[in-house]
Symmetry: C3
Subunit: 330 residues, 3 copies
């Protein structure tokens, strides 16, 4: 059985919420949701990819969200929608509504007397909010999270447990910042000297737009002099490194383990694949896709997809290939 919903909903009610039609019994109660592959009786699932038609026909799901062209599929009840995946995503919001935020500052939290906390915000035990910081309406600061001095969290943000926001970091509305994310640590700025590396004070801040999500254990450094800037609607996965002075355009998505070196400028609507790396002081224009694992070493000024990945093979074949590559340098 899939994930049980908080409160069962009829197919008819759900279809209405999705602006979709029903083929079958609208009175059917949806008790749980599942992937097509693992669905069992009582489950809601969806099916959009024509390649999965055979699998869908065998699915034991009680209710399927399908395209018009697939209403003949073998399922007790169908919800018909032109974009089943998107409809399913919306259905999840209906079936698993976000729990209401219980406002208030825990007596076990540590909030500086000069911080301004909206009355509808929630500050959990062992959270800290520094001097002059501001926390917006409906925002939740979970346990073990910290908000540094003079930093701002907008409205309806979630700062998960153990996320740390340094001082003077501005974050817009509806941010979701996962556990272990670190926003505003010092950039990696040093000057060589006869006595070794001398630290260069990192006096810039971080400015993050609205509707940004930042994954677990991702780090976004503060600017050296100017700010590090993350645009609206940017989505950043886990374990991503954004170095000082980077500027990322609106609606760009960055997958896990990727890294942007210092002062990299990335345009809007880009997609940076997992473990891709961008060398510092480069510009990437709008609408660029960087394949996972690619190291970008020069500025990109044309939209498109860019790749640089060593094709993997069985190990023995690789040793031959690698020997040939080494020879080619002689």
């Amino acid at each position: 059985m899939g994930r049980i919903v908080d409160r069962p909903v009829t197919v008819a009610v759900l279809a209405q919420a999705l602006g979709a039609n029903v083929v079958g019994d609208g009175a059917t109660l949806i008790h749980s949701v599942s992937s097509l592959e693992r669905a069992e009786a009582n489950d809601l699932a969806f099916f959009a990819d024509p390649k999965q038609r055979a699998r869908a026909a065998q699915s034991r799901a009680a209710v399927l969200i399908v395209r018009e062209a697939d209403t003949d599929i073998n399922a007790a009840t169908k919800i018909v929608h032109p974009a089943p995946h998107a409809a399913f995503a919306k259905a999840l919001d209906v079936l698993f509504p976000a729990p209401a935020v219980t406002a208030g500052i825990s007596p076990q939290a540590h909030v500086d007397a000069t911080a301004i906390i909206a009355p509808t915000a929630r500050i959990e035990p062992f959270a800290t909010v520094g001097a002059g910081a501001r926390i917006g309406a409906g925002t939740v600061v979970h346990s073990h999270a910290s908000v540094g001095a003079e930093s701002v969290l907008g409205e309806h943000c979630t700062l998960h447990s153990g996320a740390h926001v340094y001082h003077r970091v501005m974050i817009g509305d509806r941010a979701i910042i996962h556990s272990g994310a670190i926003i505003g640590a010092d950039g990696f700025g040093f000057q060589p000297s006869p006595a070794g590396w001398q630290k260069v004070a990192q006096v810039g801040g971080v400015v993050i737009g609205n509707d940004v999500e930042i994954g677990a254990n991702t780090s976004i450094d503060r600017g050296a002099i100017d700010d590090t800037v993350i645009g609206n609607g940017v989505k950043i996965d886990n374990l991503v490194q954004i170095a000082h002075n980077c500027r990322i355009g609106d609606h760009t998505a960055i997958a896990g383990c990727a890294g942007l070196a210092g002062s990299t400028v990335v345009g809007s609507r880009c997609m940076i694949g997992g473990a891709a790396m961008i060398v510092g002081h480069l510009s990437i224009c709008d609408d660029v896709i960087i394949s996972g694992g690619t190291l970008v070493t020069t500025t990109i000024d044309q939209p498109g997809r860019y790749t640089g990945v060593f094709p993997y093979t069985d190990h023995r074949t690789w040793t031959k290939i690698a020997a040939g590559i080494r020879r080619s340098g002689k």
Copy 2:
């Protein structure tokens, strides 16, 4: 001098615990342990690799664990065992017994009234345990760690300081979860829309088997609909990314900085090298070795070792090689 043991033990007592024989004085007290290379008088060390025989002969260790074939080596006292490395590992458990867990819930912890904490568990200061969570016998939740609502930690687990377990994460017995590890954050799931990326609720959970170790700052995301699943005996190093819906088979080991994209299925007894990356929606069969730094882009259905790494050279040679590679695409 090496690491001093908590309480000195005689060679005879240790050998008995290891099921090993003694050559030399069984009454010798072992005061400390060391690597072969750095051993000094009073140290216990081991020697298994025949290539290290010369080094072993020069070692100043008081006691050496050696194979039968090496009992002639120059050391005051030898403990003879067919697998010196494994015997040394066991000796460490004898010489450095895990400290007894002092049970109890710190008055400085925050435990929800509906959580169930085994009487022999220990909850340290500034740890949090959410509503309906369950903590098993002998399990330690260190300071600054959090366990979300309805999550379960089995028996004799260790959740180190600053590890965060989200809601509805099931963890088996004897798990060791290091500081900064994040289990159950939202997967990176978004739908494109005219207004930008729309978040897809991540309603699955995480299910982790018995005897799993998870390294520092590793993140394991919860499933989108179904669960993310980690098998029994899986060992995961530091800074590893496991995306939503991954399923990892029993006894697979994953080295540091590796990453698995969403819905990757990895078999049992695989070894994923450091910084290796596996693209999403692939299957890796049992008994596969992925070399460090390799990006796997297709399903693997044959056991064996797979590699895709650019051979490094001095930088000047590389520029010639790279130019040749670029030309090969024209």
Copy 3:
């Protein structure tokens, strides 16, 4: 406008602190600092790279730090110094002095009765210090940071929020350890057995020299038997993995997302680029530069720069190149 200084300073006072000359009005007050690119009236900026001369001539900065050769540049007031970048870095220290540390142990901290805290140290709310640990003069342990039993932090260190130091870790003076950094977690040490991987106790420690900076979410594992050792003046960026038993020489710098596998020895004054990886049990001599994204698979005993990066191209070209590479293994 750039970053506003805490207290305005005249050009004459600043120039004296820098040992520099003034061309223009020494009575000009510096109100803020900025990059050359974004500078506006009232800002201090600097200009060192001859390629930026055109940009500098257009800058609206009130005060520029320039080389002797550039005193003719179009700016109201110039501070003349042979090394403008270094002078600017020093100017930041003058203009943004580190706030004085208010000493004391927060009543909301948890400090073991046997820990020794210098009277001038500061322990913030929700920080923990374990049994027998020692915290030096002027050192700050921020909220949610932990210092394990018998660990030592030297003088004038900063342990940022959510950094975790395990037991028996020795850290020198003036360390800066950013949020989410984990020092002393167990190394990834297991022995194969018929029942699966058997954990090898990690009984070594970590020894860190003076003047070390460690970035956000970086992990440095404790040694298996001997210690993991980080030299003086080493600078480590974010999300870096240092495995057990590594030894890193003085003044080496390691950029973000890099990784060192177990028992790697790195010399002094090396520079390890971002996302570079070094396979275990290798030695890298002094004065080596590893390019970003390079995987080092053999010992390096000659100073110089080493590289192994697949040159990226547009995706279509890459498919041709990759096919050719695969063919070369047949």
